[in-house]
């Protein structure tokens, strides 16, 4: 069913359409709304960012869409994923969507990967289930998946997660998420646990794969600079609500909500620390070696 719906989408309907999404904890008078009235949609090839600090509801939003909320939390409103309403849907209805309609990459690949299974087998699993590959064909697909995430050494397939670096593990997690050929990829703080240089590599990789496959992307991060690199439209979340939405360019140039303005100011402050040093250096080129350290 999800396959048919998926084909209809290419006609232009959004991959994901979220309308008035809520997430609440507890029930009755005790209920606390953790996410309130979030709405957005993502079409094929579109990239949307959710930005906010921890506790702003960005991860809950993404989990609710795929019916993955932890026990005790309830979603309300509507989320159409590949044309299927996922809010209030049964596990049987949701299962075929996870993989082909929506794939996830999380912050900490160590918790997303099975520590006791060789990573090649973990990539093979969705290839077998969703693309029905077997035998030599399956082996070849695993090798291709690894090569796609720039892990060319075929011996890596036989490694266990703990034997890999953080960047390699995140590449494996991406390969697993992409194995089922999802139309929409959710990347939830995918590089927050990584070094800046490894972050740059993994972001470059994600960017290329999303573009090549024409996937939709929902990119979640607290880091405005990273979100700005990866997406074109952004929702700013605070305390479970979208306080501002717009294109990255508008938001960065002319933030409307005070909270967004603060996010931009903080990101600019870190940039300025780098530039401040840079300006001082270029303004006084000859003195650079001598006194540039003074007010770095």
């Amino acid at each position: 069913m999800s396959v048919q719906v998926g084909e209809r989408e290419s006609a232009g309907a959004p991959l994901l359409s979220v309308d008035g999404l809520t997430v609440s904890a507890g029930d009755g008078a005790e209920a606390a709304e953790l996410v309130r009235g979030i709405s957005f949609s993502i079409a094929a090839g579109e990239r949307v960012g959710l930005i906010g600090e921890s506790g702003s509801g960005k991860s809950l939003t993404a989990l609710a869409i795929a019916g993955l909320l932890p026990a005790g939390l309830t979603a309300g409103g509507s989320a159409l994923l590949g044309g299927v309403e996922t809010i209030g849907a049964s596990e049987a209805e949701l299962r075929p969507l996870r993989g082909p309609a929506i794939g996830f990459v999380f912050q900490e690949p160590l918790t997303a990967l099975d520590p006791l299974m060789r990573v090649g087998k973990q990539i093979a699993e969705p290839l077998r289930r969703h693309r029905r590959l077997r035998g030599a064909e399956l082996d070849r697909a695993v090798a291709e998946s690894l090569a796609e995430v720039r892990l060319e050494d075929p011996r890596l397939a036989r490694a266990y997660p703990h034997e890999l670096s953080g960047g390699q593990r995140q590449r494996i997690a991406i390969a697993i998420a992409l194995a089922a050929r999802p139309k929409l990829l959710v990347a939830d703080e995918p590089t927050t646990a990584l070094d800046v240089t490894v972050q740059a590599e993994v972001l470059g990789l994600l960017d290329r794969l999303v573009a090549e496959r024409g996937m939709g992307l929902l990119f979640i991060s607290h880091d405005l600079a990273v979100v700005a690199q990866q997406t074109s439209r952004v929702l700013v979340l605070r305390g479970g609500e979208a306080v501002e939405r717009g294109t990255v360019a508008d938001l960065v140039r002319a933030p409307q909500h005070p909270y967004t303005a603060q996010l931009v100011a903080h990101a600019r402050a870190l940039d300025a620390a780098l530039d401040g040093a840079a300006d001082g250096g270029s303004a006084a080129e000859d003195d650079r070696g001598r006194d540039a350290g003074g007010d770095a």
Binding site: L203, A225, A228, A249, L270, A273, A277, R288
Partner: protein
């Protein structure tokens, strides 16, 4: 005057060499950033500077004297002078202790103050990091990541150390919280003359706090100098890569 110094230190875990001939010199009130990728040896260098491990060659000196890890009186003096803040504010504070106990701990274990004297110092330390007075009576889980890092900084500065050693102190924090904690560290340095060694993979955080920067790659110092010079005219490809990897806002 040099307060804390690593002089040509080597270190190896078993037969695996981690540091080769690394030197770092911190003068009174100075700030030095140590940058590099994971596995470059940054945290190992900090362990040596904190006297948590001994170099296999070379020496770590505090006030010109080599550290003697087995001399308890000397190490107590050292710990009164050199304090640390670590990356993860969630695991570095004992969840079962109230904040006043957590912050008072170094005062007691180093025999610096107790009773009412200690309590007064704890209050002053909490105020200096911008926490409300009633924070003293609460527990770590009641605070956000940024507030917890403030508590960790209060615990480190309550003994009025001359050197603060910080291991990725803002990497686990949201960007907004990050700049606030950086501002706090800069303010404490300006008001108390605290010297700082900060390890980070994030050159942006180092640029905002440290006058000098040392770049580590594979356990060796590949580049060192004023932070402004490192950022504007890096001599090594490795340093250039670290700089270009920093995500920036579109102009």
């Amino acid at each position: 005057m040099t307060v804390l110094e690593a002089a040509n230190v080597d270190f190896a875990y078993g037969r695996r060499p981690i540091l080769h001939g690394v030197s770092l010199r911190l003068g009174a009130g100075e700030s030095v950033g140590v940058v590099g990728e994971s596995g470059a040896g940054k945290s190992t260098l900090l362990s040596l500077l904190l006297g948590l491990a001994a170099p296999s060659a070379g020496a770590v000196r505090f006030d010109g004297e080599p550290l003697r890890l087995r001399d308890r009186a000397a190490m107590r003096r050292f710990r009164s002078g050199v304090q640390a803040v670590f990356q993860d504010p969630y695991s570095s504070l004992d969840p079962r202790q109230r904040i006043d106990r957590i912050v008072a701990e170094p005062l007691e274990s180093l025999g610096i103050a107790q009773g009412a004297d200690a309590a007064a110092r704890v209050r002053a330390a909490l105020t200096s990091v911008g926490l409300p007075e009633d924070a003293a009576l609460r527990y770590p889980h009641e605070f956000s990541g940024g507030q917890r890092q403030r508590i960790a900084i209060a615990r480190a500065t309550v003994v009025r150390p001359r050197v603060l050693v910080a291991d990725e102190p803002v990497s686990a924090l949201d960007v907004s919280t990050r700049t606030q904690v950086i501002d706090l560290v800069n303010e404490l340095r300006a008001t108390t003359g605290l010297a700082l060694v900060m390890v980070s993979h994030d050159l942006g955080a180092v640029a905002a706090t440290c006058e000098r920067t040392l770049v580590l790659e594979g356990g060796r110092v590949v580049e060192e100098g004023p932070t402004a010079r490192i950022l504007t005219a890096p001599r090594e490809d490795y340093t250039r890569r670290l700089i270009s990897a920093i995500p920036r806002l579109p102009v």
